[in-house]
């Protein structure tokens, strides 16, 4: 949450992402589709950004590039001081492993695998981490998402919200420089969405940079800044003056509101 005090701090903070005139083209048969036509913005450490846009806006392409799953055709993307343009596939994989925490709409947990093992997964691909440290960090991450009592539960024994919290713990476990969420509340009901957003806001207050890709304006209200994409270009980029507290909304959320919401 941004108060007058920490706003200044952010303004002076270190640039985590620098995106300069990013372009991405896809060749489909004879046709060339220009998904991104020159996107530029920076992200400062500790920001909570929502990237908004309807389908076809280039939002997904942007997400893939931000997540180092794809490379731009033109322009620069500098993540924590590293320009990904010059990196090989394997170097990109290593970057994803240490700098990025992904949260997906459909959780993407491994079935028949306990919560703790799911959270440990990114650390298995990092050879610097011992088995003991892996376990400790996974336990800590699950504690951070308040699932310390569900370590050995399988995904099918957890609710949707709990599964998404395991996924958040998995995104946190490698201590990334940013968390990249793709419609992370898309599969959840309103109340559980608030729970997840409250958790993400909490992580943000603790200093985590968060980039949340969504098409829901409701979600944007929880973030400190909104970048709107349309037809492969940034159309709006503004700091949110009136940030809603998901925790507060959750507290105000009465049980009968479920009913009201469904019928409204």
């Amino acid at each position: 949450m941004i108060t007058g005090e920490n706003k200044k701090e952010i303004a002076m903070g270190k640039k985590i992402l620098e995106i300069q005139d990013l372009k991405r083209e896809f060749t489909m048969g004879a046709e060339t589709v220009r998904a991104l036509k020159g996107v530029s913005f920076d992200v400062i450490e500790g920001e909570f950004i929502t990237i908004m846009g309807s389908s076809g806006s280039g939002k997904t392409t942007m997400l893939n590039i931000l997540g180092c799953l794809d490379k731009p055709s033109e322009g620069n993307y500098i993540l924590d001081g590293v320009n990904i343009k010059s990196l090989s596939k394997n170097e990109l994989a290593a970057l994803r492993n240490t700098k990025i925490g992904f949260i997906f709409q459909s959780y993407n947990l491994l079935a028949r695998t306990s919560a703790i093992e799911n959270v440990e997964l990114p650390l298995l691909y990092n050879s610097k981490i011992s088995a003991k440290e892996r376990r400790e960090r996974a336990v800590n991450a699950l504690e951070a998402v308040k699932l310390a009592d569900r370590l050995d539960h399988f995904p099918n024994q957890l609710s949707g919200g709990q599964q998404q919290r395991v996924a958040i713990a998995r995104a946190l476990v490698n201590d990334p420089v940013m968390i990249l969420a793709d419609e992370a509340t898309g599969n959840l009901d309103t109340r559980t969405s608030y729970e997840i957003m409250a958790l993400i806001q909490e992580l943000n207050t603790q200093g985590k940079t968060i980039i949340f890709v969504t098409h829901e304006p409701d979600i944007a209200a929880f973030s400190s800044r909104t970048v709107t994409l349309r037809d492969g270009r940034v159309t709006k980029d503004f700091n949110n003056q009136n940030i809603k507290s998901a925790k507060q909304m959750l507290a105000d959320f009465r049980v009968d509101e479920d009913y009201k919401y469904e019928n409204s």
């Binding site: 893939n64 997540g67 799953l69 794809d70 596939k89 394997n90 994989a93 290593a94 994803r96 492993n97 240490t98 992904f102 997906f104 993407n108 491994l110 079935a111 028949r112 695998t113 093992e117 997964l121 990114p122 298995l124 691909y125 990092n126 050879s127 088995a131 998995r170 490698n174």
Partner: protein
Amino acid sequence: MKIANLFLIALKALRRNKLRALLTMLGIIIGVASVIAMVAIGQGSKKSIQDQLSSMGSNMITIRPNSNVTAGARLDISSVQTLTLSDVDALKKESKYLNAISPAVSSKGQAINGALNWPTSMQGVSVDYLKIRDWPLKDGIAFRESDVHTANKVCLVGQTVVDNIFPYGANPIGQIIRFNKIPFRIIGVLQSKGENAFGQDQDDIIIAPFSTVQKRITNSIYLQNIYASTIDESHTEAATGEIEQIMRTAHRLKAKDEDDFSVRTQAELINTFSSTSQLLTVLLTAISGISLLIGGIGIMNIMYVSVTERTKEIGLRMSIGANGRDILLQFLVEAILISLTGGLIGILLGILASELIQFFLQWPTLISESSVILSFLVCAITGIFFGYYPALKASKLDPIEALHYE
């Protein structure tokens, strides 16, 4: 990635699909178990033939007269008479490798004890013969050098002969029997040897000094065979060459003349017979090898299905930091773990099966270390070979497409 982590990842992935892993393994298990059991049967029958032939004396060498050409006509072997006692003397004098030499003359005839009689054959040999044949006495004593010198009418009888002309458990030692009307005194009974590899009863025999048999029965200076033996089996080949040299010199053969004798070692005989069971082993192994191949194709098939089914998982792993090599190795290790575990179980089952075959069917089986090691290696290679292409396919997936695969 650390090797330990690689195995951990592969093991966890297999654990999530125990039944499928087990079913995939089954092909390998059956393949390996049948290879082990079949080779055990083949090797067992080979070994039992070898043992039977060895019971005739594994370092025995037989010199026989050979058909030579007289006045343009090749003569029948039974009528060829080229071996004489002077050959035996030459061999005794000049050979370095032979430790025992015995001439052999034989005659068929009727052995008679009182009212009982039995058709058998008499073998006239020297005192070395029992040593060459590795044939101990069950009872009594063997004849000596002096018996040979004086052409003494003493003999040793085989168990079959004893059974037929001394049927009521009477002690044959010291008894006089007649063979072709000549009386012989029995001084010893031979240990039973049973049938040889050709199915002949080796105990249906009477052994006497060759001098006695030559003078009293065959009335000929020629020998049917010369038996000899070396100190151990490894010298038989060298001995064969040496014998040929000595014999050619003794028979005054010119360089262009054919040998008028032949030298055969027991080892050659063993090889001839072993080759039959070798063929059996090869056939059985080939059939089992095919089932192992089918098992391998099963692994490949399942791994392909697995890669397709787990596309989303692969996408996730890539998005959280696995590179193509990590994914390739994961699937490769999964395939190898399946094939090696299957191989180990198969080896144990194969050994168990051969023991059961031996126990219930009384077929001789012999589990050879090489077949165990070989089938284990084949399993490892099968895993790598059939696991590689599916693993390569998995590693080449695009993380974005894989993540959104439904």
